[in-house]
């Protein structure tokens, strides 16, 4: 029981520790520096901003 308890306690401490480390890494890495750029990450030349990408329903009159 005691080793298990220690394991649980260590786990419960490790998770916030990882969270703090991740926060520090993110700040050091400039993750919060250019929010407008980060928001553009899902897009690129192939699927740019301004282009809807899943328009398939109710298209018969206009497209096909």
């Amino acid at each position: 029981m005691t080793p298990m308890f220690l394991l649980m306690a260590a786990g419960s401490l490790a998770v916030p520790a990882v969270a703090l480390w991740a926060l520090r890494w993110a700040v050091g890495h400039g993750e919060f520096q250019m929010p407008e750029r980060a928001a553009l990450l899902p897009f690129d030349e192939a699927e740019p901003v301004g282009e809807a990408t899943d328009i398939i329903l109710n298209q018969r009159t206009s497209k096909r």
Binding site: P48, E51, D54
Partner: protein, 495 residues
């Protein structure tokens, strides 16, 4: 540095010639995801059908207790946990992992690393789940809610999970995009939280059980956090990707999304114990949990504002995009179920709805209305891209959407109301308990009807997917449609 040029092209799509290199990379990433993601998704769908069937049996038993009662393995005490485990670990977790793998590849901009590893992980996951579900039906359930699978099944699941974790670390290390999108925050956190929750609960409840009321505390901590720290981040990660992607507009405020993520990480973990209001636990544990539940207003409000303002002016696209329909419905349900959950955590409200069907309605609004809907939406986006086939029948898409939406509405609203009335009656000392039970019957019958509608929607979706896969693997192969260009040109995919 290659990052600035990417920004440039994204900012000025008109000036940069359509990047064939980028398009080729997207096509390559999507094609490389085909086998592992399809494996997770298709087996997830199979478990969804089985889970729906078990749910219907359990639901009918609640108003016709004699239904199928002659078979021991189909008694309520086994069917209900079997339903829960198949939909949670079979459908929701597997599909969630499948979508996570695809999103990770796309956002890291790296073709699928070690598809063999992920496929073996999927095989193990299904193996563990089959053993576990068979164990539950055979009467080997541990009788601990959300952890019913017998102890000989769970290590298999854990091996599978470890492989997925290794895979995600490798993919993350090999990423070619330096910066993280908010979805990746959510997905990586979910991949970290789940093993922590699962291992802790498994050890403290099954392997080396703690004693007394601590068991209840650990159990609720786990069950509630599986929703909040496993399904919620995957679902929100998908929403944060698909809404901007489908409507072609960046998220309203990236700062808000970061705030939403970190406040979820800070507050959610404390929430579970509000289920034990009135129970024999030290008052402070429950009070802390109530406070944390109410503080969840911060991430919920922030996410709702962000999604709403991103969608602003683009609501007409809901008419045209199945992905957007399901994902936006899921996002709305996320807000609703969170607000309902916060209300449920308050002492005065909990005294009424605790131990009633209200809680069941709430759980389904979360797992079904929010997570499952978001997963359906994600699959409508992911599957055509990894198979390079269009959806074969748009009529089935509509059947799926409307059956599931109506079914959800018919499930959640009557059961919430019925559960509330049930709670009021239970608190009235002059009403005999049997009268209270009889009073719930109409609501339970409505629930079976809702379950049938949901089942119809699932069948429509599975039929559509099977049809699509028949075009990929079956004898009636259709020419490949390059979705990205809209031209019917053969694109070389796979190897």
């Amino acid at each position: 540095m290659s990052a600035p040029s990417k920004t440039l092209s994204a900012l000025m799509p008109g000036d940069v010639p359509a990047g064939d290199g980028r398009r080729a990379l997207l096509a390559e990433i999507d094609a490389s995801c085909r086998v592992p993601v399809l494996f997770f998704v298709v087996s997830g769908l199979a478990w969804l059908l089985l889970g729906t069937l078990l749910a219907l049996v359990a639901s009918i038993k609640l108003h016709h207790p004699g239904f199928l009662a002659s078979w021991e393995f189909l008694t309520f005490g086994r069917v209900r946990p079997a339903h829960l485990n198949t939909v949670i670990y079979g459908w929701a977790s597997q599909t969630g992992i499948g979508v996570t793998l695809w999103l990770m590849c796309r956002l890291c901009r790296v073709p699928f690393v070690a598809p063999g590893l992920a496929t073996v992980a999927a095989v193990f996951w299904n193996l563990g789940l089959t053993v576990g579900t068979a164990g539950i039906l055979a009467g080997d359930s541990t009788s601990i809610e959300w952890l019913e699978m017998p102890r000989y099944a769970t290590p298999i699941l854990f091996v599978s999970y470890a492989m997925i974790a290794v895979w995600s670390v490798i993919t993350f290390r090999l990423r070619t995009e330096r910066h993280l999108y908010v979805s990746q925050w959510y997905l990586l956190a979910a991949l970290l939280w789940f093993p922590w929750l699962y291992a802790t609960a498994q050890i403290m409840l099954v392997m080396e059980p703690v004693r007394g009321t601590v068991q209840a505390a650990v159990n609720w901590w786990f069950a509630h956090n599986v929703l909040g720290l496993w399904f919620t981040p995957i679902g929100l990660g998908a929403i944060y990707y698909f809404i901007p992607k489908v409507i072609g507009r960046p998220i309203h405020s990236y700062y808000l999304s970061v705030l939403g993520f970190w406040s979820l990480a800070l507050f959610y973990n404390w929430n579970g114990l509000h289920h034990l209001i009135g129970g024999p636990l030290p008052a402070w544990m429950i009070t802390v949990s109530i406070v944390a539940s109410v503080m969840m207003l911060v991430p919920v409000t922030v996410v709702a504002i962000n999604h709403h303002f991103t969608m602003w002016g683009h609501f007409s696209k809901l008419w045209h995009s199945p992905t957007l329909r399901f994902v936006v419905l899921g996002a709305v349900c996320y807000t609703l179920t969170s607000l309902q959950g916060i209300a449920n955590s308050l002492r005065s409200y909990s005294e009424v709805v605790h131990f009633t069907h209200h809680t069941i309605a709430h759980a389904h609004l979360g797992v079904y209305g929010f997570f499952t809907m978001v997963m359906f939406g994600s699959l409508y986006y992911v599957l055509p891209r990894i198979t390079c086939r269009e959806w074969p029948c748009l009529g089935l898409v509509s059947v799926h959407f409307w059956a599931c939406t109506l079914g959800l509405f018919l499930y959640v609203v009557p059961l919430s109301v019925g559960g509330f009335l049930q709670g009021l009656a239970m608190n009235d000392a002059s009403v005999p308990f049997l009268k209270v039970v009889e009073g719930t019957l109409p609501w339970l019958k409505l629930r079976t009807c809702a379950g049938l509608l949901l089942g119809l929607g699932h069948l429509a979706f599975v039929a559509n997917v099977a049809w699509m896969l028949a075009r990929v693997f079956g004898p009636y192969r259709k020419p490949v449609v390059a979705l990205l260009t809209g031209q019917e040109t053969p694109v070389v995919v796979g190897k």
